[in-house]
Symmetry: C2
Subunit: 331 residues, 2 copies
DNA sequence: TCCTCCTACGTCAACGTTGACGTAACCGGC
DNA sequence: GCCGGTTACGTCAACGTTGACGTAGGAGGA
């Protein structure tokens, strides 16, 4: 900046004015400064700028999801990024692996970089690190899972209602033995979906068969094992409700391996690519992922801009997409 | 920091020493400073630190891919992120939409934040903005597509060789009318894969039928249209080589709609989730995405650490995954 | 004609941190 | 008892930028 000022024969302050488009610089000077900046390849240093500026903005937000290579997470990231771009804001992205220690560490790294706000998919268990960061004043929005502490915005989907709806549809087809296969019980979404399952059974007048409930299935492999065990029961389920996309994939594999994909009904929570191309197509509860991302971005930027209205828990509706696997009758 | 110093009754310099774990601070003082920092909730400001430090590191790298919600891109991001984490480096991620103007803008934003280096999936066409940035000294690694300028590392896969291999396999099964369906011709990968296709035909002693070549298919919809047109030819192809994953999906849809998925052979470039669960499974050329990401990360961090050896063009081998659709004989 | 106001700059200090360098106290050796 | 060396601090300025404020010159009004 000093070099630019010297070349344009003005003070650094005037360069600053020109770069930021502030008034108080004549047209001739503006042109000289612009030319000098171009010839020297000058780039403003946002870090130094943010250090001095009054608003202390870094024009950067943090995004901390479970696994950025998961389609759900990356679609969410993309939606947040699109909204951020409109404000000239860049996104620092990280994967927490659903590990509290790692999440806390990454959160510290983001704080050290003075991000203007964070969008977090909270790791299961205690949210102490999140709460601390929030209490230090960092604008924060949780996605997919609500906070266990107060004063923080959050965006989730209709986990319970949509799960109930899925189970009711199965029951309406005549299924009386509907299994539940879920992800880790520490996850709020798993709990909600399980509650929806219970509500659905109750509402359909069915009694819960404990042995048809399998949880803590983290990943497709565990889901395969659990599905195999369920099908080997003396009185196996005639329908499966798989409460997470990797679980759905695991169950599907087993059904296909046994040639049961047209006789055992299946509804999964979370859509996945090509679910419509399988035979039969897989009926799923589809979350409005871009909608969730947009909403989260909207909330975080409002908070960054000083919105102090009471915290919001936004619920973005999911919908049941019927493709065949969930429309199979028993026997 | 001043507050911490005051509370611990030391100078800010000593606080700096304690925070950075530098020698020259007694045990008692270290404990006092740590306690003070904790009670005040002190967080070091990395921006200010980087401003003053001699190495000028921001401990942040930029990643500029085409679309972060694409599974290929997000898997790549994840691999880079994993490597970055080991060095305490965070990742600023952006989607360029394969738009040069947007890519240039994002590149400028990254530069303003003084990222230590960038990993870029170059947008098609001129790479002026990239070259400029590179010439300003920013460490840079291109992935998936090589630079059109010199002095820059790059990681790609065996586009040409693997495409040739795919075509040769189809020819070996007796196919003589093998169609090529490709993404935008401005993309280097498309060109390479097309060249591989031509080499494969030549090596198998087949003559090119121009009307079996369809390019500029950006997205599954265009691929569907093109596939439909191909199948409606008087002498339709008996095998398809689809040179990008969305193109593969589009072609698959049409084959299934016409009930041809077991009679027309199909090999796609790029694997995709559930390709193995379809009937028949889809034979694909699978890139080693984590391998590409790891290599790119390794290169960028080496350059950041001052490696000045000649630029490298690393080629990570892809492999043909046989699942059925590419093993269908003609008629 | 004189005073006021505005425009177009410049000067200085400060943002939070660390490199360079200074200094007081202590230690060991002759 | 003196000297050189080491340890444990502190002081000061600077990184690149901008807010607060100062000032010179010209325009405009009474």
């Amino acid at each position: 900046m000093r070099d630019v000022a010297a070349l344009a024969k003005v003070s650094t302050k005037t360069v600053s004015r020109v770069i930021n488009g502030l008034p108080g610089a004549g047209q001739e000077v503006v042109d000289r400064v612009r030319a000098a900046a171009r010839t020297l390849g000058y780039r403003p240093n946002l870090a130094a700028s943010g250090l001095r500026r009054s608003d202390k903005r870094s024009a950067t937000i943090g995004v901390l999801f479970e696994d950025l290579s998961n389609p759900f997470d990356s679609a969410l990231l993309r939606a947040v990024e699109d909204r951020a771009r409109q404000g000239g804001v860049l996104v620092l992205a990280g994967s927490s692996e659903d590990d509290r220690a790692l999440q806390g560490e990454l959160l510290g790294s983001l704080a050290a970089r003075r991000v203007d706000g964070v969008v977090v998919m909270a790791a299961g268990g205690h949210q102490d690190a999140l709460q601390q960061e929030r209490e230090r004043g960092t604008p924060m929005v949780l996605v997919d899972r609500p906070p266990t502490f107060g004063g923080t915005d959050c965006v989730t989907t209709t986990n319970r209602d949509s799960s109930r709806e899925a189970v009711l549809q199965l029951a309406a087809l005549g299924h009386r033995d509907i299994a539940f296969l879920g992800d880790r019980r520490t996850l709020w979404t798993s709990q909600e979906r399980y509650t929806g399952y219970l509500e659905g059974l109750a509402q359909a007048g069915l009694t819960l068969r404990e042995e048809l409930v399998r949880t803590d299935l983290h990943g497709a492999d565990l889901a395969e094992t659990a599905t195999t065990a369920l099908l080997d029961l003396d009185k196996p389920p005639t329908a499966l409700f798989t409460a997470q996309n990797l679980v759905t994939v695991g169950s599907m594999r087993v059904l296909r391996a046994r040639g049961l994909q047209r006789s055992v009904a299946l509804i999964g929570f979370d859509d996945f690519p090509l679910a419509d191309m399988l035979e039969p197509g897989i009926t799923v509860v589809r979350q409005d992922v871009p909608g969730i991302g947009r909403k989260a971005a909207e909330l975080i930027f409002a908070r960054i801009d000083g919105d102090t209205s009471p915290p919001v828990h936004a619920v973005v509706p999911a919908s049941l997409v019927r493709r065949g696997s969930g429309e199979i009758s028993p026997h």
